[in-house]
Amino acid sequence: MDFLTKSLAEAAGMLASLDPELYFIVYVSLKVALVSTLIASAAGVPLGFFIAIRKFRGKRGVITVLNTLLALPTVVIGLFVYALLSRQGALGSLGLLYTPAAIVTGQVILILPWVAAFTVSAVSRIDERYRRTAMTLGAGPFQTAFAILREARFGIIGAVIAAFGRVIAEIGIAMMLGGNIKGFTRTMTTAMALEHNKGEFVLAVALGIILLAVSLAMNILLQLAQGRYGEDR
């Protein structure tokens, strides 16, 4: 694994060099991934929650569609958002194409089904009695939802972590909608793709290692934040 050691050394070197360009890339990646994850979670968790809790006709259908959307390819999302944000598109006047906001838009579409699907699965497994208990103790709809989500928290945090992992490692949308503009929308993944395209494999993997390190740091932070309850279940 000569390749790996070389890449590791390169990654260390890059980080040590304090190259502002590199740090900017990391910053853009993190910002975009975090914002996407937050937005998708803010929408996807409640969505998944209601699908899981409510009994309605066609519920299985909705879940099937949700599962299908897990296979939504980045190219399709990229092209749709492009069609929307392009100068000719409905929202063209906003000038959002090839900005971090465009990446966020695409990535939110990408991971919303993931967050929702996993929230459905986390919430459906929560004992019906939690809901009943909250309700009989006088909780309103939101408070009841909150109580159930609290019990499902490990599953939901899991879904959010996964969503973050998915977007920070995502290439296609970042490339198509961000445009991989140096110093503006270049992320760790698009930089990697570029290096790969150039045949600079060691550099590409070095960037990948930095990405994993960043992701590891985020996960450790989250673990610490979850605190002692983390081990409980």
Binding site: R129, R132, M135, L137, G140, P141
Partner: protein, 346 residues
């Protein structure tokens, strides 16, 4: 004013009709016991009364107003009634946070939440458990904390699903005392389900009997699976022992049930000179004697090998005259019309 009025209420689980009540009114400020065999619909009824489960069909009115079962209108009603589940579940946090959940939902101040929670925990003897993780408690501890949690909501109506099951003896009387006190002092209405008829007798002013989802007469006691034969005019075999002769009936083999009317059992102390066993007489042992409103309940072990429990309802005078005391061996006879035979399902 009546507390609840149920009209033609049904709850259906798939093909199963778990509840099917034509009319039921419950008065305010009373303690009412809910009795019935397993699967008779007690829990289901309590869920409806707690406004947690809309019935499949039928109308429920609560405190004089019809319940519309739309979420918006339900919340204020639900704040007046609290249910303690049969197997309560604790939120995975501390005991005190569980107990202060109700007041918190009602927007009470922090300090009030804490005070009332500790007060209620104290009532069930669980004050020292305040900071323990609630989802790790033992069965009886959970049951008691759940009762405290319901009390902390300060409801008008308290529904308890087998509140003393799993609770130790000492605390059974604590729980019973809580039920008793709340009704008499706080003008709270209480409905509790139980499998203990003595408890029902002691605590409840009225009783509801359920059987297969329907309101019923006091449960058929003394119901036994039996072999029923027509052989020498012999009628029923319980525990492989003849218990009655009578007119030749239809013949069933296994799968049939015999129930014996507890008011139609006569008990005679052995001392009375009734000689040894003969047809129509059964030897039995007195296990327990307890008071009901206007009767004395005597639990007898009438099985050949022990363990076949028969309940007789006697008049207080009979018991005193006969000087029956638990532990005595006695002879019993059944009145000719004491037996009811259920055919096995086709």
């Amino acid at each position: 004013m009546t507390l609840y009025d149920l009209t033609l209420v049904q709850v259906q689980f798939g093909a199963l009709r778990a509840l099917d009540i034509d009319r039921l009114s419950l008065p305010e400020n009373s303690a009412c016991a809910l009795l019935g065999p397993n699967g008779s619909g007690k829990t289901t009824l309590l869920h409806v009364l707690a406004l947690l489960r809309p019935p499949t069909r039928g109308a429920v009115s609560f405190m004089g107003e019809p319940v519309s079962w739309r979420e918006k209108t339900l919340l204020p009603l639900r704040r007046k009634v609290v249910l303690v589940d049969q197997h309560p579940i604790m939120f995975s946090t501390t005991v005190i946070k569980n107990v202060s959940y109700g007041p918190k939902m009602r927007g009470e101040s922090r300090s009030f939440q804490k005070r009332i929670a500790l007060e209620c925990l104290d009532r069930v003897g669980m004050k020292e458990y305040a900071d323990r993780p609630a989802h790790r408690l033992s069965g009886g501890e959970t049951q008691r904390v759940a009762i405290a949690r319901a009390l902390a909501c300060g409801p008008r109506v308290l529904l308890l699903d087998e509140p003393t099951a799993g609770v130790d003896i000492e605390n059974q009387s604590v729980v019973e005392k809580i039920i008793f006190d709340l009704c008499s002092e706080k003008n709270m209405s209480i409905l509790f389900s139980t499998h203990n008829p003595i408890q029902a007798e002691r605590l409840a002013r009225s009783k509801i009997y359920l059987s297969a989802g329907r309101l019923a007469a006091p449960a058929a006691e003394n119901r036994f699976p039996a072999r029923v034969l027509q052989q020498n005019g012999l009628l029923a075999l319980i525990d492989n022992r003849e218990i009655h002769t009578g007119p030749p009936p239809e013949i069933f083999s296994t799968g049939s049930f015999v129930s014996i009317d507890p008011e139609k059992i006569r008990v005679y102390a052995n001392a009375r000179g009734n000689s040894g066993p003969r047809n129509g007489w059964l030897a039995a042992k007195v296990l327990q004697i307890s008071a009901e409103t206007d009767r004395i309940r005597v639990v007898l072990d009438a099985g050949k090998a022990g363990g076949t429990l028969l309940t007789a309802l006697l008049k207080a005078g009979d018991v005193r005259q006969n000087r029956i005391v638990p532990g005595d061996s006695v002879q019993i006879t059944l009145d000719p019309d004491a037996l009811r035979i259920e055919k096995p399902p086709a």
